[in-house]
């Protein structure tokens, strides 16, 4: 017995991942069956997909410049209103730009803002959370203290301060949103890791001599991913709305880049005489964020075993 080396008793990577893949395929089939019970969530998912497609094929489905307008075409009403034309399906803004075109191109910006800021937050937060939750001890308390510190700043104030510090712009916006955004993921990941750490399979993996990073990456992370994923969907919606709030304060994305937040903010003074300027991008935001949230809620119902219907 004693002569058996650790390496012999560990199944090869190839084998483990093979099993994993079969399990995953089986699970995902079940996942889709479950998800079908949530038609509203599926609809949400479809809407999100449509937005993504629109963002990717923006050039192909629009016929105006998103940035340059002609003042002579300003504030034209949408096609379905008197005086509107299909040339500008959703009307034009104060600069004479086509609102439809700007919304489609704006989907790129808004989705990127949401996905990038949350993506970076998630990677940083989960990595640090896994480290802290698995290792505990001094490193845990160090990161946790720093997280508590950041958490004590109100999010919007922090973002405003960061934007003042960095200046307006796309990359700066992502940075400002990420700098505090990772804390949520950190807390969730850390808590889950601590909980997972007490379970038998981790102990089993340790006994078989797996390295720490292998245990964390291949054994524990897959188990906490579902909850992380749900949080991700929620945060993406939050970030898109936050971008709009920052635009309202004049700290959004540089003009003339079409971003929904600044389109809504710009158009608010026209609500009384040209309601479409602000309302159209507003509806675009609401539809996307609502769709993301509904999708996320469905995921949660499906992924969280405690909520399953028997």
């Amino acid at each position: 017995m004693a002569t058996t080396t650790a390496t012999e008793s560990i199944p090869s990577w190839r084998y483990t991942w093979g099993v994993r893949w079969r399990l995953w395929r089986q699970n995902s089939l079940e996942f889709w069956r479950e998800l079908r019970k949530h038609p509203v969530s599926v609809a949400g998912g479809v809407v999100v997909l449509l937005y993504v497609l629109a963002a990717i094929f923006a050039e192909q489905i629009t016929w105006h410049s998103p940035e340059l307008g002609n003042l002579r075409n300003r504030l034209m009403p949408p096609a379905f209103m008197a005086g509107g034309s299909w040339e500008f399906p959703l009307g034009t803004d104060a600069q004479g730009r086509d609102i439809y075109t700007r919304i489609v191109f704006g989907a790129r910006i808004s989705l990127l803002v949401g996905v990038l800021s949350v993506g970076v937050s998630m990677v940083v937060g989960v990595a640090l959370g896994a480290l802290a939750g698995y290792r505990r001890g001094r490193i845990d308390s160090l990161i946790s203290r720093f997280a508590d510190l950041l958490l004590a700043f109100p999010f919007l104030i922090f973002a405003i301060g960061m934007m003042a510090f960095l200046g307006p712009g796309f990359v700066n916006l992502i940075l400002a949103l990420t700098f505090k955004g990772w804390v949520e993921f950190f807390r969730l990941a850390r808590g889950d890791m601590i909980a997972e750490g007490t379970r038998e399979y981790v102990e089993a993996a340790r006994i078989t001599g797996q390295k720490d990073w292998q245990i964390v990456v291949s054994e524990m992370l897959p188990n906490i991913l579902p909850t992380i994923f749900v949080l991700t969907t929620l945060r993406i919606g939050f970030m898109i709305v936050t971008e709009a709030s920052l635009s309202f304060l004049g700290l959004g994305i540089q003009p003339p880049t079409p971003a929904w937040g600044s389109m809504v903010a710009d158009g608010r003074n026209h609500l009384l005489n040209a309601w479409w300027v602000s309302t159209m991008p507003g509806v675009a935001i609401v539809a996307l964020v609502l769709a993301i949230n509904l999708f996320g809620e469905g995921l949660r119902d499906v992924l969280d075993p405690r909520l399953k219907i028997e």
Partner: protein, 336 residues
């Protein structure tokens, strides 16, 4: 035992507060933009001497570490310095504004809970029904709309077109109210001023709805999922098996236990509400802390920003602590 734990937590909050103070201090100094420059505006003449003088008045001519020390020692004495732009003590400015902000936060919380509880409970009881889907979708609207847009739309609909509710401010311009605490609703009751009570409540409605919409969504979501969890749990099944009515099973057992995670979220939302309302305050002309601090950031009014952020951080840490304490009362199994 519990008291010792609370004290421990209080002590742990001290380094956090110091950290917040240092971060906000450095952050403001490193942000480009000169407060003196902004103050002098464009008109008239500004001499170099004048700028020098203002700099030394604001202690901006001292080395950074000295300024930091002045700020930290001031905090120890409870002195947050004087605002650059308003030439008044920061503590006084914040104290004037805080009641407005808290009043709005309470109004928003009340609205949020009033909407969230029915939606959360019904959605959970009728999981996956059309009612569940629609009411949750409705609740999610609250976190899907940029608050400034929602606020302006509400004003245009309910104030300008329907004329049901006032547009802005905390109380009617010609309504007289003797302020006692700074909370207008409370002051109206204390001084028995019916007109002021009605006016301040009417002014509170739209901002509370705008700010509370997000709370409603978040709380409804948590309440629903924790109710679901509880409804599937053994003791509710047991209660049902014992012949308890469906209402009693839901109300007595599931809801009670579902309240535990809900309280946590509600507590955290208090911090969010207090710190996240600058948009709503700006839209509704609500003279609260949020607007003050945003203006201060743009004016690089260092002492005012520092003071306000300290107050926010304190509120947040306190709200967290209270939630933790409440938690142990709600669920005696959990230790702090």
């Amino acid at each position: 035992m519990r008291l010792v734990k609370i004290l421990e937590r209080l002590l742990a909050a001290i380094p956090i507060m110091i950290g917040v103070a240092v971060i906000v201090f450095l952050f403001m100094r490193l942000t480009p933009g000169d407060p003196v420059d902004i103050m002098m505006g464009q008109g008239g003449m500004v001499t170099a001497g004048e700028i020098e003088r203002l700099r030394s008045e604001f202690n901006l001519d001292k080395p950074l570490h000295e300024q930091l020390a002045l700020f930290l020692f001031g905090l120890l004495r409870g002195d947050m310095g004087n605002s650059f732009t308003k030439q008044r003590p920061v503590a006084q400015l914040i104290a004037e504004r805080l009641p407005a902000t808290i009043e709005l936060a309470l109004g928003a919380m009340l609205f949020g809970l009033l909407v969230a509880f029915p939606i959360g409970i019904i959605s959970a009881v009728r999981q996956n029904s059309l009612t569940d889907r629609l009411s949750m979708a409705g609740a999610f609207l609250g976190i899907s709309m940029p608050p400034f847009w929602l606020g302006i739309l509400l004003i245009l609909i309910f104030s300008v077109h329907l004329k049901w509710l006032p547009v802005q401010g905390r109380i009617g311009a010609d309504v007289h109210l003797t302020t006692v605490t700074g909370f207008y609703v409370l002051d109206s009751i204390l001084t028995g001023n019916r007109e002021a009570l009605i006016s301040s409540l009417r002014h509170l409605v739209l901002p509370s709805v705008t700010l509370g919409a997000a709370v409603a969504a978040i709380v409804a979501r948590v309440l629903r999922s924790s109710m679901l969890e509880c409804l599937r749990s053994d003791y509710v099944k047991l209660a049902r098996a014992k012949g308890a009515g469906e209402f009693s099973a839901v109300a007595k057992h599931a809801l009670r236990n579902a309240l535990i995670p809900t309280v946590t979220v509600v507590g955290l939302q208090v911090g969010v509400l207090l710190g996240g309302n600058m948009i709503v305050e700006a839209v509704f002309g609500w003279p609260g802390l949020g607007r003050l601090v945003v203006d201060a950031i743009f004016a690089r009014d260092f002492p005012l920003v520092q003071g306000a952020v300290m107050v926010y951080a304190f509120t947040f840490v306190a709200a967290n602590l209270i939630v933790d304490v409440l938690y142990t009362y709600l669920n005696p199994k959990i230790e702090m």
